[in-house]
């Protein structure tokens, strides 16, 4: 047995154990991308670096066998900085988007490409479900959203953006689908939440609070719910039946609307604060309702609430929507309503905080030849014009056709990609080492099971090894140095190269470079 000390913990291991394995046995997690249990270990990614505390040098822990008396630092700022640098270098040469530009532009971060793919497949129920993960009011927003997503759409400069807004409305247009019991399986928390204001922020907060098992009461000084959406937007833009329908849907879920119910400072202190477990303020622009009435310091700045946690200075009182940031976009207020609802759940201890990826790789515009690569996954043609005009919207057939125009700009492995996971964990700056120009990207989509995107590859070579064992053709390295890439010998196709091992390659691939063609990680 060999003695090794890692991060001041000493253990004994069998000869042949690597430092990475010894660390794992001690519960010390070391990131690794090119390393995979059961495969030959040939370090390349360099994110598993650790430091020899006695000699002062860094080495890859995945391939280093433990030697007697080793003293290793696996967790320190210096080691983290080296790993971060390796990740930043990899990302500087990683031409790929984790999320599509539309999703990144959407104030609510709606998973637009996934919605499109589900519509294209005719899976309408699922598409609405995906939309509602981020957007509580798809029907209303399907009329009034200015759709920044469409301005970012990669299809726009080619022959017109995908009509995302109309597709989103389409997912919610069917009343029975929209009102299918959304809270059937929800465990009630017994908590009571007051929401002041019934605009997009308040309604959205109510929707998500109800879906997470809370009781909700909405207060509004007006006669009808909807806030600015009702009182500022003309009927020709937003048919009132649609507005009413979605507001009523929330009532069906259990919301209690207390209309004609202005909140004065007195009511707030006597009837709201003592009787509810939490309060969400969503009263819109502050000219309508000064925050001082809720016992909060006002002034011209919107700094009475934290922009990330939506917490005000008063415990249990949250604020969202236009009161904290004025915006013309209902979708932004609506997104804040959702996030405030999440924060309330965390505050009340009923729902744990779920860590989401903050990191996004993103590479900017497509060149002409790259547009061709992207169009491979789509159908040709300009956007479909709805027959009855914008207000009428798409029928099923049109919606499917339009959704098929989406080019699948998002990554196929947004959840399992190790590069994204570690980039997130190590807080990388993806632009730190960007070169003057990026490599041109391509997509190899002709294999019936998988898609290969060479510019997302980190050159770990796992697929070369896996395919080399069983395939007659297999994959290979082409070239060397910065230009080295994984490709198929003699310019054959990936389909020809991977007849038996495609699945194993995808599973081993640490990034989105090799992915299953028709598998969604987020359903």
């Amino acid at each position: 047995m060999l003695k090794i000390t890692i991060d001041n913990q000493t253990t004994e291991v069998k000869p042949g154990t690597t430092v990475l394995q010894a660390a794992a046995a001690l519960g010390i997690e070391i990131p690794a991308m090119c390393y995979r249990e059961g495969h030959s270990c040939h370090p390349s990614c360099m994110v598993c670096l650790v430091k020899d505390a006695d000699r002062g040098n860094f080495f890859t822990s995945c391939a280093m066998p433990v030697a007697e008396g080793m003293n290793i630092t696996a967790t320190s700022d210096e080691v983290a900085a080296m790993r971060r640098e390796a990740l930043e270098l990899l990302l500087s040469d990683h031409v790929g988007d984790c999320e599509a530009p539309c999703t990144l532009t959407c104030p609510a971060s709606m998973d637009i490409p996934l919605m499109n793919r589900l519509i294209a497949k005719g899976e309408f129920d699922k598409s609405l479900e995906i939309v509602r993960e981020q957007i509580a009011l798809p029907l209303i927003l399907g009329y009034i959203c200015p759709a920044p997503c469409e301005k970012a759409c990669r299809r726009k400069p080619i022959d017109g953006a995908v009509s995302i807004c109309l597709l989103k409305r389409f997912t919610a247009i069917d009343a029975s689908r929209r009102n299918s019991n959304l809270i059937a399986d929800v465990v009630k928390t017994g908590k009571k939440i007051a929401i002041i204001g019934t605009g997009p922020a308040g309604l959205s907060a109510a929707f998500y609070l109800l879906r997470t098992g809370h009781n909700c009461t909405l207060f509004d000084k007006n006669e009808l719910a909807g806030g600015a959406m009702r009182y500022n937007i003309p009927e020709e833009k937003l048919p009132r039946e649609m507005l009413d329908a979605e507001i009523d849907g929330i009532r069906v879920m259990g919301a209690v609307y207390k209309m004609n119910h202005p909140i004065t400072s007195e009511i707030f202190e006597n009837d709201i604060i003592p009787k509810f477990d939490a309060v969400i303020l969503a009263t819109g622009n502050r000219e309508y309702q000064p925050v001082e009435e809720f016992g909060l310091a006002g002034g011209t700045d919107h700094d009475f609430a934290d922009k990330k946690t939506y917490k005000t200075l008063r415990p249990g009182v949250f604020a969202c929507g236009n009161m904290i940031r004025e915006s013309e976009m209902a979708v932004r207020a609506s997104a804040q309503g959702r996030m405030a609802a999440t924060e309330v759940g965390i505050y009340l201890g009923t729902h744990p905080s779920v860590k989401k990826f903050q990191f996004n790789s993103s590479f900017g515009h497509l060149s002409k030849p790259e547009q061709e690569e992207y169009l491979k996954e789509s159908i040709p043609g300009k956007p479909i014009e709805p027959e009855g005009g914008f207000i009428a919207g798409f029928n099923e057939q049109q919606a499917i056709a339009e959704a098929k125009r989406c080019m699948h700009c998002d990554c196929r492995k947004p959840a399992s990609c190790k590069l994204r996971m570690y980039a997130d964990q190590y807080g990388v700056n993806r632009k730190k080492h960007l070169g003057p120009e990026r490599k041109p990207l391509s997509k190899s989509i002709h294999h019936n099971l998988i898609v290969y995107e060479p510019e997302k590859c980190i050159r770990c070579g796992l697929c070369v090894e896996i395919s080399g064992k069983e395939e007659s053709l297999g994959l290979t390295y082409i070239g060397r140095g910065f230009d080295v890439r994984i490709s198929v010998p003699f310019n054959e196709t990936v389909a020809e190269a991977l007849k038996k091992t495609a699945e194993a390659c995808v599973i081993a691939c640490p990034t989105g470079s090799m992915a299953f063609k028709n598998q969604e990680e987020r359903i």
């Binding site: 990899l90 500087s92 003057p436 140095g481």
Partner: protein
Amino acid sequence: MTPDHEHIIQTVEQIIAKRGTSADAAIPILQDIQQVFNYLPDEALKHVCAITEISPSRISGISTFYSQFRHQPAGKHIIRVCTGTACHVKGATRVYDAIARELKLTDGQVTDTDGLFTLEKVACLGCCTLAPVIKIDETTYGHILPEKVGEVMQEFLSKNQHDNHKGKQVLASDAEIMGEIRIGLGSCCVASGSEEVKQELEKILAQTRINVHVKQVGCVGVCNQVPVMEIIKPGHEPAFYAKIKPEEVREVVLSHFQPSGLFNKLKTKFVGSFEKAVVADEPKSFRKYLLEQRDTPISEFLGPQKTIASENRGVVKPCDITEYLAGGGFTALRKCLGEFTQQQVVDEISMSGLRGRGGAGFPTGRKWQMVKDQPDNEKYVICNGDEGDPGAFMDRMLLESYPFRVIEGMLIAGYATGATQGIFYIRAEYPLAVKRINEALQICRENGLVGNSILNSGFSFDIRIFEGAGAFVCGEETALIASIEGERGIPRMRPPYPAVKGLWGKPTLVNNTETFSLVSWIFRHGAEAFANIGTSGSKGTKVFALAGKVNRGGLIEVPMGITLRQIVEEIGGGIANNRKFKAVQIGGPSGGCIPASMYDLPVDFEELSKVGAMMGSGGLIVLDDTDCMVDIAHYFLSFTQDQSCGRCTFCRVGTTRMLQLLDKIRSGKGKPEDITHLEKLAISTQQGSLCGLGKTAPNPVLSTLRYFREEYEAHIQGNCPSGKCMPLITYSITDECIGCTKCAQRCPSDAIAFKPYEIHTIDMEKCIKCDICRQVCPVDAVKVG
């Protein structure tokens, strides 16, 4: 033109029949295929996969890894532009650009439309003293000026046509031997025309019936004076002729020897009168030196040197075993086999203090001990002759000139470590070295020096040659081993060290060529004698390729501990053209720049690494005040970046990003924060890379940042203080212009209007900074600012 199917299949089958079908034969097979077709036709590769164990994946992987291999048909002739350090500082980039212009090559194109010439860059042709150098097929041209490239190509083509009409040379043999004439036939000598000198000499000797022994000797070392001819006549001082031209040979020969026979005397006189009539007068262009004479450039050059690896320099004929034996050759081997146990041999090497000459300076004795201590029956000894540094050609010289010495060193190592197989790993760019080693090995086999029971000692050891295929990283021992195994030259993680688990998983000793060259001397003179030379930590001598801005460049062997000043001033004769000494770049792409303020630094492993440089394999380039340090850093980094195997992130991406930052700084677009960014990235690349190539690649950047940071800062301000960085310089013509129009006629980009008898002007919008106008101006009216 694509070769036909039948021809391809037949050729491949012949090659396979010779090379075998195992996977490790892949590289030699590819080399043979390219030899026939000038490139690797896909069809040939597919057929190789069909009839051997070599997989499509392997053949594609290796054929795109090594730079020797071409996948497109090449032109009829190949022009290789040397981009070694010495050539770089003397303007190789402009030479390359000028040839590309001459061939009308557009972006990415390397072969002209007629398919006559293919243009390639080569890391180093090893003729640093003739820089800048190009090689067209087998002919090397030195001191190339961009404006002359057209003429050179014309000359090549016309000479190439007449090549077939060479006359047969007859040598006189029946009369009394009157003396010996030695001609250096190292690669530098040949490049400078020694072959022509030799042909002329043989012709004259045949005509005059002067009966002297003509001897081809290996590298003489005084590469700055080549071609050289030395005349030995009994009873006379040896005379040394430097920079001799073929047309001068007759006079030199006749000044020493009398033609035999009256008729010949008359005829000679008659023929001679057409040339230079008076034999007694020295022709002007060449120099004659007596070796014993003091204060001549030759004696100064050779004076401070100490020859061990290059013992008997310029005296012995490379493949003459009788001569090698006469000089004490193989006595060391005899001694080891007869008197020493294996352990005693290792101990002797340990006591000598010998350290590896490949660069890092690992103690040789310790390495031998590690291999010896392994219990395996099968062990290997590899001679690392994959000298890939730009600006270094020590290994080439040693292999070409002293093949027996290197073999003897390997044999002793083989005996000491208990190995049974030796392999020479030699760069494919060194055909002469391969030829000489092959010849020498054959002679050794015939003489019982290689093979079964060497010298009847019971020790058996065979040696073969493996030709590298063009990858600098294969100088790294684990990459070299991967390459012999028929794989891409990717370094492997150490441990396990090759001494424990190397070639085919067996204990393997990998030593540099120069290291092996020193071994026999140690046994002939004793470990103590070796240890008495040098400093406390660095024993013995070191061979350097001295080049750059010195008066006398060449291959030198100096005792460790000698100062840089002694090397540059005494051996090198100081800085050329009355410029100022600025720095020495030592250790090639892994080394660093040492500034003038450290002129008295002793050459020693520790001292060099303390100042941020390293011994490296022995390139020593002298820089003067016209050299830009940012440009030098960029030059070396572009080399390592290009040679990175691409395996680990820091080297693959890190060196690329560093190079791009240097590009930005060099073109005046840098921001102050780019310097710190570059420095930080250089440090993490140094710390994080997997192998020696990546770990040392940042050295040229870090050392120039350390000693010449102000030059980086000046570039940020938009100014290149040395006037080297093309994007930051402008050309102009002063009032001294006489209106001769030479510049206008030669300008390749029409930036100078043709105005006879007027002062010319340069349109900077059109100027491509090729420097031709400055070179052709007869009155130095073109200024660079």
